[in-house]
Amino acid sequence: MEHHIYKEWIPLAVDNDLNDNEQIEFDKHLNECAECQAEYDGQKKLKLLLIDNTLPEPDDYFLFQARQQLRDALRKERSDKPSLKNLLGRIFTLRKFQFAFGGAALLIVGFFAGYLFFRTNPVQIVNGTDTNGMIETASHENSSGFDLSQNDVRITNIRFIDQDASDGEIEFIFDAVKPVRMKGSVNDEMIKNVLTYSMLNVENPGVRLNSINLISSESKAEPDSDIKDAVITVAKFDENPGVRLQAIKLLSNLSYDEKIKNTLLYVLMNDEISGNRVEAINCLMAAQKKGTGFTEDELSIFKKKMTADENRYIRYQAKTVLEESK
């Protein structure tokens, strides 16, 4: 075999990636070729040096910080999309509501068709001026059904189409945003979906906290899986420690399962706020008292906490969990 092929084998030999026959052949060549032997020795030494001196790995706290920032960035990405579209998209993807919303959509289409057919003075755009030349909207409703004279309609994003008033008319488009009031039981599915949305996506932490509190106050024992997943996400990743704590407390009241256990272990491992870690370990201990066990990997988290957590209570409780597990 040619010399250059053996030379190509050197990195493979260093990594023990040659098969048995190739290794025998390679060893034979090394005995006869000083150049390849020197190259092999050099690469082997480098390999050993790198094995003995690994570069620093990101620690848990650094990873936690990076995740916090990522979560903020993702929230921004999500909020950049039209929020009404997101909300409607979320509602319409829920199977339970598809028929109800399908029917409602059909009704709306029917009303709209009837309106187009019977209307006598079609109003597609808001128009009209008073004698002072001011745009006058008080007596008009636009095609979207908003009464623009109402104080709660917010007008934004005005784009002019025709600014030339010489012919007596101008034309423009704007967005009319109107608050929607919902009233009903906390157990109402529609209300729960809006609360879930706000828990995950609203920027104001107070609103997120309120949403969790309202879901917590729900009289039924178990929320559906969408809400549970949202609470898990908040418990792990909300940027506000108080919101995270409230989500952890809510989880502790739900039926304990693998997802909840993993979330609590994650919080115990990664939450920088000791109060949240305390809540997590308390919930885990309560589950253990009810007979839920931990795997070896999970116990290793408690071992780490027993020696390394800055909080004395957590160290003590971690030790208790380990003793109870024997």
Binding site: K45, D52, T54, P58, A66
Partner: protein, 190 residues
């Protein structure tokens, strides 16, 4: 039982944010690790980490399973690392074919080479790691990426070629050059 990557991707593509996060957290430590080793700076590593996952977030809806998710993810990671270097480069960018020459270092800046001219056999482990870091930082962007993936992330040559979207022979060439340069730069500490 934990969901597979494929299940999580389908759910994430349907808008399930917790599935997306679960998917992210399966791999993000490796992404952060690679970024940290590549840029050797925590703030920059976090920027790269964030950029990678924002790209994943935006691109996931179009992910068509033509490759493993992990391959796609680490391809994005290598691209973001290399782009980061290009944005922040303070050194002269030398084409790969001219980058390394055993005789004259091929124009690569070795301004601290005198640091390696005297035997330093009794360095502590931290000091050696620091020297390795400095030497790695003197590799060209692609050499550095391939060297780190091979020696510190444990990838096989075939996997690196897949991630970097190039021929295995190209990976071998970069790795050969990187190994030689590293040996030269570190010759006094082993």
């Amino acid at each position: 039982m934990a969901l597979s990557d494929t299940d999580l991707i389908y759910k994430a593509q349907a808008g399930d944010s917790s599935s997306f996060e679960e998917l992210v957290f399966r791999y993000d430590k490796r992404v952060l690790s690679m970024a940290l080793k590549y840029v050797q700076n925590k703030d920059d590593a976090k920027d790269i980490y964030q950029e990678v996952f924002i790209r994943v977030f935006k691109g996931l809806k179009n992910f068509q399973f033509k490759s493993e998710f992990s391959t796609w993810l680490f391809r994005i990671t290598t691209n973001v690392c290399l782009t980061h270097y290009a944005k922040n480069k303070k050194r002269i960018n030398v084409p790969i074919n001219e980058e390394f020459d055993e005789e004259d270092n091929g124009g690569v800046i070795l301004e601290n080479e005198h640091n390696y001219s005297s035997p330093e056999k009794h360095l502590s482990s931290n000091e050696i790691s620091e020297k390795i870091n400095e030497a790695v930082d003197k590799l060209s962007p692609k050499q550095k990426m391939i060297f780190l993936m091979k020696h510190f992330e444990g990838y096989k040559l075939k996997e690196i070629a897949l991630i970097m979207d190039c021929q295995e022979g190209t990976v071998k060439k970069y790795l050969f050059e990187a190994n030689h340069k590293m040996r030269k730069l570190l010759k006094n500490i082993y």
